[in-house]
Subunit: 367 residues, 2 copies
């Protein structure tokens, strides 16, 4: 899932997300950011998040739990929820499972996430246990508040004016929403197993592994994935939050993960790093001054069909925004195309072969 | 002509420039900027400017005269040419009619511009006359150097390797180049008439009015246009450089001008100002917080078909680059569509009626 924190996947138009190059079926939005700006009233006045941003395909909204947690000293976590200062204007705000569910119901994404607390990657067993227990209590409150909000919103969003036709169409896309639970427990495998079992007991439409890619070592991350992913319900989507590089995604798929979100393709693209079939490429490098090859000779995206490394480098060195636009497009195309190939390989029973070849290519690099 | 100073029309992909929304047939590049960065060697190595940036439609390159002049204290103008310090790294550089023509021939745009000197909008008669005389001497040197460079470049760009097919195709698009002369004389109408006559004597494929929109009052600008434009050769394109607002363009067309370039649609778009059929609109304004209307209700561009003012405002307030991307697209669509309508109106003998109605609309504004 391309990440569209503030209701926009940075640097790329929705038309491009829908184009055959990318064909993104779902994008991610963020409760915390949208709640603070433009505010839920404005989004509701515009008929929910899909209408507000002009995107008719699926969306998932994160609960804001992670964002609030990552504010560090700016927030105070209690049993009730999290008090924090807005990163925009310093205003004191309060987010709880109930508020997050109300906001997410109003945003109206196809998938909402439970409000969780994230322990640091290197949390002790005690810290991680306390945090996990809190997340479990919040999971129950999320579930209940979500169910209440659903009923209220299904009613309030029903067509009732002269824009009935449009509203109906959007309603059909948006409802009923699904709620996913989040498994925590930091790097402690016993806590992770407990968190999984007890989150499944609460009962969600999908399950996510949270609290990874937050400062722990990569082998630790994979230990957790290896422990948790195969034990997650097989008939529900398995979502690994905030991960990762192309090789991370494929390694996680090997353990049974279905869904991912990550800012790497967009953020690194904006900064001049391209993901290619032969590994990463820093387009600002002087060696590309007169390089007429595309970013990735095996990529068929519109950027690789049209533009040379020499031109892309020139755009970055000149501070031209088109550079960020084009690398974002290519990186998303590369990620989404890789995942399409992964799905094909799984269907045809060739995943292991695909993974071996893909990884060999990746590590061969550009000479 | 959308302005693509550094080989990119800021914030917009070439695919969008080619799309029916915009259908830009020609864009402008800048000799000064491209010569300094990435440098003419890199562009030549990539097969000229079209190949380098990936644009197969027409281009016009400005000569660098205006850009060097606008460096102010960083440059020193002599008979031979202009010595200046690069705005990028402070390096001492020298640009002359001969160098500009060589560079423009290597860039290979369909239209090159003579190397001129621009007098300030409020130059005295003496200053303006001296500047005009220099520009005339430079016009002759430009003409001669251009003709020499053409012969040399037609030879050096001839297909000679295994990419012969591509090269031939590009050559067909690029050659022969046309060279336009530039009329100067600041606000002094007698100098403007002299400059016109003597520039026409040198002989060019088209003629441009330079030295406007450089600090003079708007009535002064139109006095010059009214004096010069109708006297310019009727069988050659008449190009007004660096102008202006939609109403300026239409007023200049009424005096016989054919071509324009201006950064307003792109620069103002990046900063949140939209040009619409009812006048300018500053999208950051609080009144648009929940405004579900498109930027311009009579515009059919992809931005107006899809996105509300509320969303566009949100993008600008959140510092999201998509805001600049979308307003740039709309503004270019509005400008190019207006000029298409102008051409239709002229063909059907309805220009005066069109102009009256267009201007009435523009000044009515958004309530």
């Amino acid at each position: 899932m391309p990440v569209g924190t503030a209701g926009t996947v940075k640097g790329i138009r929705f038309e491009e997300l829908e184009s055959p190059d990318l064909d993104a079926r779902i994008i991610l939005g963020n409760t915390y950011h949208l709640w603070l700006r433009p505010g839920i009233e404005a989004i509701e006045a515009c008929g929910g998040l899909h209408n507000f941003i002009g995107w008719n395909r699926a969306m998932l909204t994160d609960s804001g739990g992670f964002q609030v947690w990552s504010l560090g000293e700016l927030r105070k976590i209690t049993e009730e929820g999290t008090e924090f200062r807005s990163h925009i204007d310093g205003q004191l705000c309060f987010l709880s499972p109930e508020i997050s569910m109300q906001v997410q119901a109003a945003l109206g994404a196809e998938i909402a996430m439970a409000f969780d607390e994230c322990a640091p990657g290197k949390a002790t067993h005690d810290e991680a246990r306390r945090s996990m227990e809190l997340t479990l209590r919040w999971a129950k409150r999320s579930r209940e508040a979500f169910d209440v909000a659903q009923v209220a919103n299904l009613r309030s969003f029903a067509p009732q004016d002269d824009e009935a036709e449009t509203s109906t169409q959007v309603n059909n896309l948006r409802y009923p929403q699904a709620l996913f639970g989040i498994i925590q427990g930091a790097s402690h495998l016993d806590l992770r197993r407990q968190s999984l079992e007890r989150t499944v007991e609460v009962g969600f439409s999908g399950y996510a592994i949270g609290g990874l890619s937050v400062g722990e070592e990569k082998p630790v991350m994979f230990e957790v994935i290896e422990e948790v992913a195969p034990r997650m319900p097989g008939d529900k989507p398995r979502y690994l939050m905030g991960v990762g590089t192309p090789e991370d995604l494929i390694a996680a798929v090997a353990h049974g993960v279905d869904m991912f979100d990550c800012v790497l393709p967009t953020r690194n693209g904006r900064n001049g790093q391209a993901f290619t079939s032969l590994g990463k490429l820093n387009i600002k490098n002087a060696r590309y001054l007169e390089d007429q090859r595309p970013l990735d000779e095996s990529c068929r995206c519109s950027v690789c069909r049209r533009h040379s490394r020499a031109f892309l480098r020139h755009l970055f060195l000149s501070g031209e925004m088109l550079g960020s636009i084009l690398l974002t497009h290519h990186n998303l195309a590369f990620y989404l195309d890789t995942m399409r190939t992964v799905r094909q390989a799984i269907r045809s029973g060739q995943f292991s072969k695909f993974r071996r070849e893909f990884t060999e290519h990746l590590t061969s690099g550009w000479e």
